[in-house]
């Protein structure tokens, strides 16, 4: 990805809209008693298109903005989402994304990882109440929602960042020159 100031502004805008959408819409709707969390999936999409550095910085910034708006302790979401962004970007740098299902699957896996990460940090900071078994349902359903939301999200983000993407030109098979008279 070629990062110009215009593209950085566009990524920042995507992050802000994502956080506002999460807080005002996705966190407040439920399907089967669980709300979707699109932010890890959004960070994964940015990382898959921009690489590990873009993913890490986007994850940190989105987490920071989220904690600011929720008036929570700063740093928790930043730490989790920057890890998600860095690892997703690293995946993109090491492996080719041939399968069109892969972004959605990565969104699913990293959302599960992010929720477990949140839980781990919360446990380390001290959890003052028992944990219900139902939390497993919550984590799994959040990952499934991330799978279904991840694909359209990836397409939208890719469309928004298209001018900055370095795409390899499609290799056209050259027609073999025919010998005259054959």
């Amino acid at each position: 990805m070629i990062l110009t100031p215009k593209m950085v502004a566009r990524i920042a805008l995507i992050g802000m809209v994502g956080v506002l959408l999460q807080l005002s819409f996705f966190s407040q709707v439920e399907l089967f008693h669980v709300s979707p969390d699109i932010l890890p999936a959004l960070v994964v999409c940015l990382a898959l298109l921009g690489g590990s550095l873009t993913g890490a910085v986007a994850g940190f910034s989105i987490g920071f903005f989220l904690d600011c708006l929720l008036v929570e302790a700063l740093g928790v979401s930043s730490l989790v989402l920057l890890s998600v962004g860095y690892l997703a970007g690293l995946f993109r740098e090491r492996f080719e994304i041939h399968n069109s299902l892969l972004p959605a699957l990565l969104c699913m896996g990293f959302t599960l990882g992010a929720e477990l990460g949140f839980g781990l940090i919360q446990l380390l900071l001290g959890l003052d109440a028992p944990v219900s078994v139902l939390i497993i349902r919550d984590l799994l359903l959040k990952s499934v929602y991330a799978f279904f939301l991840g694909w359209p999200l990836y397409l939208l983000v890719r469309r928004a960042l298209r001018p900055a993407l370095v795409e390899e030109p499609k290799v056209r098979r050259r027609r073999r020159p025919k010998a005259l008279g054959v």
Binding site: L20, L21, Q22, L23, S24, F25, F26, S27, Q28, V29, E30, L31, F32, H33, S35, D37, L39, S52, L53, A56, V57, F60, G63, F64, F65, L66, D67, C68, L69, L70, V71, E72, A73, L74, G75, V76, S78, L79, L82, Y86, E115, F118, G119, Q122, L125, L127, D128, A129, P130, V131, S132, V133, L134, I135, D138, L139, K142
Partner: protein, 287 residues
Amino acid sequence: MYRKQVRRRRAVLALLIVGSFVLLTITYGQGSNGLQRGVSTIFSPVQGVADRALKPARDLVDWFDKTFDARGENGRLKSELAKTREQAVAGQEALQENAQLRKLVKLDGSPALAASAYQPVAARVIARSPTVWRSSVNIDVGSGDGVHVNDPVISGAGLIGRIASVEPGSSQVMLLTDHESAVSAKVVPSGVQGVVKPEVGDPETLILDFIDSTKRVHGGQTVVTAGWCAQGLCSFFPPGLPLGEVTKTSVIEQAIEQEATEQVDVRPFADLRNLDLVQVLTGGSRG
């Protein structure tokens, strides 16, 4: 060139990780800071607009979710309705009797009636924490509307939590299901007292703990806030706010302390997952 890129990438990553830990160390348990207040003040109106604009879409998704739930609830609600009718008739009689008794023992003006000093302020939920590990919502009223930290917050069904932090135009509500939440409560009519705490990850169950096991609690009994006042200190919550209904009781033997405590599962009256309009009880007596 490639090595330089890798080094730069690692340096940025290390900087971000260290930055996260520094932020966490500085701000954990400190409440809101100037930066958060600033961001919150700027984005509260935007969140308010987004909340209103996205309400139809939220309602549509809720409709799907509730249609699934409604099938199972129909039978349960019918039997509950019959039971509630009986209780309503009994309640009317009790209300009359209660008014007469209060006059008799001159309870007016006592701490138990501190609830009457509260001024309700209506608010709309504008944001909700996305992760299951935290349970908080942001509302569109703040210090400018007379809201203070620790003010109780209720919905039409009962208590939902208390104010955790306040900004000029918005506030954060710590819900009953947040792991840091604890409310002193009592079971009526038995009068058994305890502390209501959440079970993280299960928004439909609260746990009433620290109960004297010699007293019995039964399913279906109502749990309300205890609202105690002692030696000048008062609970954040006025007495008598409905919290939930007892669904299950179990006795836990404490091996170390050689005594048994009863643990009661309580289903909150308020639907803590679907909050739209709430009321903040401002003023009143606080501890």
